[in-house]
């Protein structure tokens, strides 16, 4: 549970010996009772917010009849039937092609984003071009254009050149979708490389490759990894582009999921199992990036 550590350092200022004055001040307001109440409230709200996720996981292990009861059957026997159903035991429709499409498009587009964004971020932070702030805001402004405003020409183009239902076209779309935010995140992480270290390395006559490997990479690596994970999540989640640009061959997992509910008979446990399976990669990626999630999502504006 190393992911839980980020909360720890932030609590240090309150407990450090330098804040004796504060401690005395707080004792007047009875901090223990105060914090117990706050902790209780926080825990109640945390459980409330997590309950749909917990319910989703629990229901996915119930049988269809136990899943659809009112009041809910919390203690019903657990079974893997819903997962077997999701993987097509009776219907014969396997979700694997769509899951593989999602993995392919998310991983390859993320790789492409890194290839384009790392040099760009380098030219915006470590050896910045002139007017680099203007370039940054150009990148950001492209992200602010809603996908719907460009999707029709992209669709028409894909149809004309025969790229509809082609995973490579989707990969290019996801790359453009994530590139601006990746440049912003990456710039903020590369800007953390101390200038003195760069100068010292240059004076010592280190070449660019050596500086990249020995000076920049160690400082920026966690940030680059977090950027990659966030880009992966955004691509994996995407629905609109995938729905319009893909079909039976290149359809991704979210597209599969929208066509999954037939409305016939009982399907609740199956839907929950599907939601769990499809969300697992995002949950893992998100918790892996937890330390840098805020900095990434706020485009580096918040540390």
């Amino acid at each position: 549970m190393s992911t839980l550590t980020p909360a720890a350092p932030q609590s240090i200022p309150q407990a450090s010996p330098g804040s004796m004055r504060a401690r005395r001040g707080k004792s007047r307001m009875d901090p223990t009772r105060n914090n117990t109440a706050a902790g209780l409230a926080a825990w109640l709200l945390a459980l409330l917010f997590a309950s749909p996720v917990v319910w989703m996981i629990l229901t996915s292990f119930h049988s269809e009849t136990d899943a659809a009861t009112n009041p809910p059957s919390v203690a019903a026997t657990l079974t893997l039937d819903a997962y077997r159903e999701f993987f097509g035991e009776t219907s014969g429709v396997s979700p694997w092609p769509s899951l593989i499409n999602s993995a392919t498009s998310s991983i390859l587009s993320t790789a492409l984003v890194l290839v384009l964004a790392i040099p760009a971020a380098y030219a915006l932070s470590i050896r910045p071009v002139k007017k680099w702030t203007d370039v940054m805001f150009f990148f950001l402004s492209t992200k602010m254009m809603p996908v719907v405003a460009a999707i029709l020409p992209l669709y028409l183009f894909a149809r004309t050149v025969g790229a509809l239902d082609n995973i490579w076209f989707l990969i290019l779309m996801y790359t453009s979708m994530n590139l601006p935010i990746a440049v912003w995140m990456m710039r903020s992480f590369l800007a953390e490389v101390p200038e003195e270290m760069l100068e010292a390395a240059q004076i010592d006559g280190a070449n660019l490759l050596l500086i990249l490997r020995k000076v920049i990479a160690p400082v920026a690596m966690p940030g680059i990894a977090a950027t990659a994970l966030i880009c992966f999540i955004f691509s994996w989640n995407e629905l609109l582009l995938a729905r319009v640009l893909t079909g039976v061959v290149a359809g991704t997992a979210p597209v599969f999921l929208t066509g999954f509910v037939s409305g016939q008979g009982l399907f609740l446990a199956k839907v929950c199992a599907a939601a769990v399976v499809i969300s697992l990669p995002v949950l893992f990626a998100g918790f892996a990036a937890q330390d840098k999630l805020v900095q990434g999502l706020s485009l580096g504006a918040v540390k």
Binding site: A38, F49, V53, M56, A123, F138, M144, P146, P153, P254
Partner: protein, 322 residues
């Protein structure tokens, strides 16, 4: 491109006459600096800017792919339709209502949660992890769960809990909600607030923890009440974080498609502009009209984005100045 290079070479160097080689060397150096930037820049211009120019052109055409022979220049006709057609006007209103209510509600709840998480208590890290979970469920999956597992009127968890609580008091006639058909937009709002509150909470928590503690401690020493400290110290400090969270959230929620598509399929007045545009070109094949609506969304986003850019820029300048 030559003008750009000329502008970048420093005026001081152009004065000297033998500076010809120095100047070209400097130019080469400037291009060497720019080179790593160019692939990303060119890629983005081709994939995002060009299509938008095409959208702009199509928006002035009368183009329905089902009757391709009637394609003609339409002037502002499509824009008039966007602003007068009752369905599309409803979509504009829905987009605004949806965005404003989701952003405000998730900001407020996120602020409350951030204030609680800023205190020390047992299992704080775990509580924080649990609170992030909603943000890490695939949006389509989250919408399906809300639709079928939580809000379903017959066997959803919400009504199930109501039945259970009422049965504890011996009642067999519990109140049962049917949010999806009685207040579908509220259902969309609730599910989106659930997903976006963690995002706001994370940004505000980071803001709280960057607050200079010495002034807070001094205020406490002077006997300031917690409310006074919150009102006069914490809130002013959080202002730019509130703005940042709200504006980044707004940019994403304006574009929301997944929830509307999955929860209500745009029925009963829940179709927002992205969904309406999708239907206009994907099912109705009205390319000109869909493009005009797309341009309207962009104009709306630019208005929000101008404020967003200003906020991001003020935080950014502070960081760049360090």
């Amino acid at each position: 491109m030559t003008t750009a290079t000329a502008r970048i070479s420093r005026p001081g160097h152009t004065a000297a006459k033998p500076a010809r080689t120095a100047k070209s060397r400097e130019r080469a150096l400037a291009w060497a600096r720019r080179a790593p930037l160019l692939p990303a820049l060119l890629f983005l211009i081709v994939v995002t800017q060009l299509p938008f120019v095409v959208t702009l052109i199509i928006s002035f055409l009368n183009w329905n792919s089902l009757s391709p022979t009637k394609t003609a220049f339409a002037g502002l006709e499509n824009y008039v339709t966007v602003l007068t057609d009752p369905d599309l006007r409803q979509a504009i209103v829905t987009t605004i209502v949806l965005t404003v209510s989701v952003v405000l509600a998730s900001l407020l709840i996120g602020l409350g949660l951030a204030l609680l998480l800023d205190k020390k208590f047992i299992g704080r890290g775990l509580a924080r992890t649990l609170l992030i979970a909603p943000f890490l469920v695939v949006p389509v999956a989250a919408a399906l769960i809300w639709k079928h597992a939580l809000l379903n009127p017959a066997y959803g968890l919400v009504n199930g809990i109501l039945t259970w609580i009422w049965s504890l008091f011996g009642s067999s006639t519990p109140p049962q909600l049917d949010l999806l058909s009685q207040a579908p937009l509220a259902a969309v709002v609730v599910s989106l607030v659930w997903q976006w509150t963690p995002f706001m909470m994370l940004i505000l928590l980071a803001g709280l923890q960057s607050r200079p503690m010495d002034t807070v401690e001094a205020a406490q020493m002077d006997g300031a009440t917690p409310w006074a400290i919150f009102r006069h110290l914490t809130l002013p400090h959080l202002r730019q974080y509130l703005e940042l969270g709200g504006l980044l959230g707004a940019i994403y929620i304006v574009q929301n498609f997944d929830s509307v598509f999955t929860l209500t399929a745009g029925g009963l007045g829940t179709a927002n502009l992205p969904y309406a545009i999708y239907q206009t070109f994907y099912y109705a094949n009205e390319y000109g009209l869909a493009s005009a609506a797309g341009v309207v969304v962009v104009i709306g986003t630019i208005v929000v984005a101008t404020f967003a850019l200003r906020t991001v820029f003020s935080l950014f300048k502070k960081e760049a100045a360090r």
